[in-house]
Symmetry: C2
Subunit: 165 residues, 2 copies
């Protein structure tokens, strides 16, 4: 499947100088979405995964879809102030501004997912936060890796992605 | 399945006087989530649905899960400034403040979903916005209806929900 044809490139969004990759055409197609879900876990031993962790907001879409497709639970990693207590919180710098992520403490082996890996700030925070919150991180997976903006690794391997720009 | 036992009640969150219903324990359980997905479409003729529309952010979770479970595409209804142009936008009053929803213009028969129906401001805006953006609304579905806060209907019937408080 030629996924790239289903991604719209929008220059200067949300701010000048940023090239936004719009994945909504993929989400609209059940076939394309299923293809993406299969690819996003091809590096993962599914029997070792209890939960999918999705990062707010677009990671919720892929995370919930993956959980449903492969019979795993879903855990949301949310922006500050959205989850009721008790929460584990972590603040970090991101591409344009500063942010805080929060998640519910818990346990289990997780796959962390998001749509786009840009500078890696959010994903690195997600990894740290999952560990602090008590989860065991089995692996990480993203749909798009903007490789010119990061050289992030997980356990000394590049972050698994389906599309690279 | 006794779903209520999987919902945590948190008083005075996010602001004093609001009783927050935390659905994350349902999301964590593949069995509970699948039960919810089946129930959320029991009033719907699935063959008449092309797309599931999920309202940001928790509606993304249920919407993407429903799309994946039943082989439908997913369309996100987002907060202002998140979707690249072209978008259709609608501002409205909500329980604590004011908000704008945006969505990509398109077509197809949709099921609009969200997790909690409170005053109904967001869902009413979603219905109007979907129509303006070119979609045909087949039905609406929520997980929880806080009936004391709204008496919202869709085509003269109460909004379909699984749990009522």
């Amino acid at each position: 499947m030629h996924l790239q044809a289903l991604i719209r490139d929008i220059p200067d969004f949300p701010i000048p100088g940023v090239l936004f990759r719009d994945i909504t055409p993929i989400l609209q197609s059940p076939e394309a979405l299923n293809f993406v879900l299969e690819k996003m876990v091809e590096h993962v031993e599914l029997s070792k995964i209890d939960l999918i962790v999705g990062i707010e907001s677009r990671g919720f879409i892929l995370g919930a879809a993956l959980g449903t497709r492969f019979g795993k639970g879903f855990v949301p990693l949310r922006k500050a102030g959205k989850l009721p207590p008790p929460v584990e919180a972590l603040s970090y710098e991101l591409e344009y501004g500063k942010a805080t992520l929060e998640m519910r403490p818990g346990q289990g082996r997780v796959l962390i997912v998001d749509d786009v890996l840009a500078t890696g700030g959010t994903l690195a925070a997600a990894v740290t936060l999952c560990e602090r919150a008590g989860y065991e991180i089995e692996n990480v997976s993203v749909l798009i890796n903007l490789e010119n903006l990061n050289n992030m690794t997980f356990r000394e391997k590049p972050i698994h992605s389906i599309l690279k720009y």
